[in-house]
Symmetry: D2
Subunit: 237 residues, 4 copies
């Protein structure tokens, strides 16, 4: 499996405390987490075509997406390409603040807004679908000592499968592990993770992301986005 | 609309502190909460046929169900009748410990187990489907100062619509407001409420239950449970 | 309820045989079908702002959409406005070839492609959710003597509720009655109807569209598209 | 993977024309179709405990179920055991007339009725979820020359995933490929197949059933049916 880990890579270059958590960038931490799952390459926003030219997307089975500070600077042509790849079967794993990424809103059609508070409070990630492959081997609950709060209402379509629901020390809840299918592609949104906390070094979080990448891999290969097809009577023989 | 409020009515008759919360029984409190919604009658387990003979079910548009201590004593013939009524269009609103009622397990097919802890802790009820009619006029979140904890994993089929998710002071979460459709009938499960706490006097909880009863009312009237139908070619004209 | 019937209005102005079916335009036929449901106004693509300036959308409870020949000429600013209105609660009923409308693809995120064949063959519309309000009073099946074929695979997200499935004389099937919820808005896609056939004069089809408009009306009023909200700990009191 | 193929085995013993289609029984044909998927054993209704004593179910990963003439003679104790196994993770593939099996109705909670007509007409099986693993490698559509008709309305809960929809020469449609999850178990219902037609020798139908068995295999192993669990505050550490 070919995995492309995409990162905006802004905070890591501009904020010392983020660099301490992620000396190799968030993309570096995620690439390490996925080393056993497939062949991993990374791409970042500052690269030409944001590191996602057609030839990269064409050979990608699953793309992970992390962005926060520079969503608006993502080129619409790249968003078009990623959307086409997903509809044709490429898996997409959107992480944390990626809920506001153009590609996520494009695929879901909603505002993807939520409540938030960055006070380093405890997050508990509860499995509500214990036999889902993305929850395999995950403790009930996952305990993250210090996290940004994301709370409802999260303005997404009802997920095709709801896998995890988080609670926070302040009392909020969040549908933080959601599966969607769009076209032939599988999409998983997973809320834990932030540039301010070492969440992507947490072994259970890494396990979930690895499971999600495996789950999101295309079934039956990649396909072009279908076009409307005039089908004469009896075309199927 | 004809509403029948069904109650096991065991705790109220045997425990003084429950009687203090519910001097007219839990059924009395619920009947008061639903007075503006339709014509309400009550039925209790100790009555002949548990108060649910065919003629009562036949004229019931929506049945609410509360039980806890005596689920096993509910007659299977009554469960059969209630199931047939639901499949034919009668609405069913199952409350709190009714998650273990025979009729609920019969309609859902799963064990309906959950975690629990009775320590009077704060429950917050979060709306995750803000435009759902059952959430109309409900604050975000509903705050219940003192409640029994119900926690995941709740072993139910994925609900057709998830309306509310609760969190508890101890950190657990629970899918406490769930819509299911079975046959022509609409089923709503709502977890807040317990004999040990005055939850059914809470105005927001009463609002939700009233909304749920309105939502669960049959569309297009009641029907017999369908039978397999031999349909000769061209039967539809 | 305020209903706005939107029509591209191209075929009616350029093709005599379409004008014979729809002397008042497809919008005229739909407005007549909805006369008993609410206060109906019509809007067409050739009008300024396509007849959908903010003040029209602001007072619209449910918008119906028919387009075919000129999807690409719909102004993106109008699509943005309609999307915002839907996310805030406005209902949207998308008809037939509207499957390729910018607003439909925007809200669903997929290609919305399908098979088609225009040979005037019999379509049967089967109800698979008989207690759904959109199916109320509808015969099983609806028989349309002469129709364009729309066939699977229809590249949409799995609908939140599937109400109708059509079959065609040539053997194809189509998920032609699909409910989606996006933000606070309800969306219904209904496939029967075409400029070449008098389908919008068929009493059962008119019944379905009237039911759909009633179903899609906003619950709890219209709201602005939500924004991310920083929520200090304890904000809910 | 351990697969147990269960068959009522009544028609094959009593009707010559069925024996011609299935000289080794329907279970024999299905066992042959699944030979490459795992280790297959068969069990039939006339055996002690219907061939499904606890030790057989305990080692079964996926059970396939075919019955028609003798549903009522299946022992409730066996149904209880199979239900417990499914809730604990065992996969279940229910075939054709198995829609009326006690175990299917038990797990779904509805009447599972449908229309039918046995006139040997053409069935077309259309894929509506082309990237679903159960549809992998399957032509669009599958053509079955001669089949019993099963038509809507099929009284089941809305499936968690709808994979196939059939049409019949007479014009009916049927949701004939449906995924359900109950407890930890995956259930697939597949309608093609009948004792009167050699459908289980059709290579595409065999492909679907093999795919379904692979899909239904337990993720994360088998578990006992959960029980309610008193969870003291802070139990998760």
């Amino acid at each position: 499996m070919n995995i492309t880990v995409w990162n905006e890579n802004v905070h890591e270059r501009t904020e010392e405390h983020v660099r301490e958590h992620y000396p190799d960038g968030i993309h570096g931490a995620l690439a390490a987490a996925l080393a056993g799952v497939g062949s991993v390459t990374t791409a970042t926003q500052e690269q030409p075509s944001h590191g996602l030219p057609p030839e990269v997307l064409d050979r990608t089975d699953v793309l992970t997406w992390w962005g926060h500070a520079a969503h608006d600077e993502v080129d619409d042509a790249v968003v078009d390409r990623v959307q086409a790849a997903v509809l044709g079967g490429m898996g997409l794993v959107v992480l944390h603040s990626g809920h506001f990424a153009k590609i996520f809103k494009r695929l879901l059609g909603t505002s993807c807004t939520l409540r938030w508070r960055n006070e380093g409070e405890r997050e508990l990630v509860w499995t509500v679908a214990p036999s889902h492959p993305i929850a395999e081997g995950v403790p009930q609950p996952i305990v993250i000592e210090s996290q940004e709060m994301y709370g409802e209402h999260f303005d997404i379509p009802a997920p095709d499968e709801l896998v995890f629901v988080s609670s926070f020390a302040g009392g909020e809840v969040f549908r933080g592990g959601c599966c969607f299918r769009r076209g032939r592609g599988r999409i998983f949104y997973f809320s834990p993770g932030d540039q301010d906390y070492p969440v992507y070094h947490h072994p259970d979080i890494r396990r979930v992301i690895a499971n999600a990448v495996r789950w999101a891999a295309p079934v039956g290969g990649r396909h072009p986005v279908p076009d409307a097809s005039m089908s004469p009577r009896g075309w199927f023989g």
